[in-house]
């Protein structure tokens, strides 16, 4: 008895939403707003049920709403409404899950953040001296032109034009020199580690 009452309620709801959707497709903004508002609790429930620990349920729900809106012309008024909504919801949910997994694959959970700043005060004394020593040694191995470009642009902090005047070289050759120097130093550091 209760099942049949539930079925009837669902059927009535389906008919009601179909009518609202048809009106929405015809440009009736009020009916369309009513439809999306009535769908909102359902969408929140579905997303929360599928992904109970998701921190961004509301973001996924909003994506679903935007998607429903952008493809509302794909709803065939002669077909059931709920499968149309649920297909889009599942699809957007899967997209969000895929994005989340892709993001988490590039993230590492740590208890204590490692020191990654260039400022010496954020590093231990040992790290500071080792870094500086390594860079000094690598600088001394660079060809003269590349070393001068690094000194002027990266250590003294001159602009390209200023460095060009001081070194008597073109801006382009300074750019190339810095690029090659950094690449050579990076390669050397990678080999070392």
């Amino acid at each position: 008895m209760r099942d049949s009452a539930d079925t009837k309620t669902r059927r009535d709801r389906e008919e009601h939403w179909r009518a609202l959707m048809r009106s929405g497709q015809n440009g009736d903004g009020k009916a369309y707003a009513q439809l999306l508002s009535e769908l909102l609790p359902l969408l929140r429930r579905v997303v929360t049920h599928k992904w109970p620990s998701a921190p961004d349920v509301e973001d996924v729900v909003q994506e679903v709403l935007v998607s429903l809106h952008t493809v509302r012309h794909t709803y065939d008024p002669n077909r059931p409404f709920m499968p149309w909504v649920m297909t889009i919801t599942k699809c957007r949910f899967a997209d969000a899950a895929r994005r989340r997994y892709a993001r988490s694959a590039n993230e590492t959970t740590v208890d204590v953040f490692p020191e990654t700043f260039s400022g010496d005060q954020t590093k231990t004394e040992q790290e500071t001296s080792t870094d500086q020593e390594d860079l000094r040694k690598l600088m001394s191995t660079l060809p003269g032109g590349q070393r001068q470009a690094i000194e002027l642009l990266k250590i003294q902090g001159l602009s390209l034009q200023e460095a060009s005047r001081v070194a008597g070289k073109s801006v382009a050759s300074l750019k190339v020199g810095v690029h090659r120097a950094i690449k050579a130093m990076r390669d050397a550091l990678e080999r070392k580690t």
């Binding site: 369309y32 508002s37 909102l40 709403l65 952008t70 794909t74 499968p83 297909t87 699809c91």
Partner: protein, 227 residues
Amino acid sequence: MRTEELIATLTENCSPVRPLAHPEWRAVPWFAISLGYVAAVVAAMGLRLDISTKLADWRFLAEVGAALATSMMAAASAFCAGCPGRPVWERFAPVPFLALWLASLGIECWRDWLASGGAGLAIRPDLMCLPVILAISIVPGVLILIMIRRGAPIAPISTMGLAALAAAALGAAGLRLFHTEDASIMVLVWQFGSVALLTGLEAIFGRRILRWPTLQEALAADRHSPR
């Protein structure tokens, strides 16, 4: 933005939209236009000299007919795949015709092997097939791409794969009418293989080509073009 505000934004300038036609009714004009284009290409290239003999051969007709049916059904399936809520089995509708096409080539290969042994299944390089099939199917392919972009990207990989299959199968059917290559193994490897390759390649790019519009794109579309 709060979700209630989003709903207000979306419905504020809600323009009327025309529901998409039934997938079959979208597939028919695509197939008609594409068939006309392929016929024009075949006419420009010139029919093969033995066309009257080939048209009397039921095996040739079965092979080309299966390729055309695959094309038509793949197009209808691609359009179905862009309509949320439609049954998933519709995406597999071209499979029987694809199997028929493959079987017709396979049976011919079997017959060649029985008649000539290993020599009947010798594969020679025929690098013309892939570029020619690509060239013939480019116009049907672009046309179906424009049409499937009107649908919802709920299954972008299969939608793009089906669309590519529709265009490439039509191109392969057209190629059979002016390219005098009848060794079944060659047709299987170079022509059917080209269709499979193009289908797979386009399917890989499905997610990049068919994507959901952002909120800004959706609102801009509402402002500029009532569907």
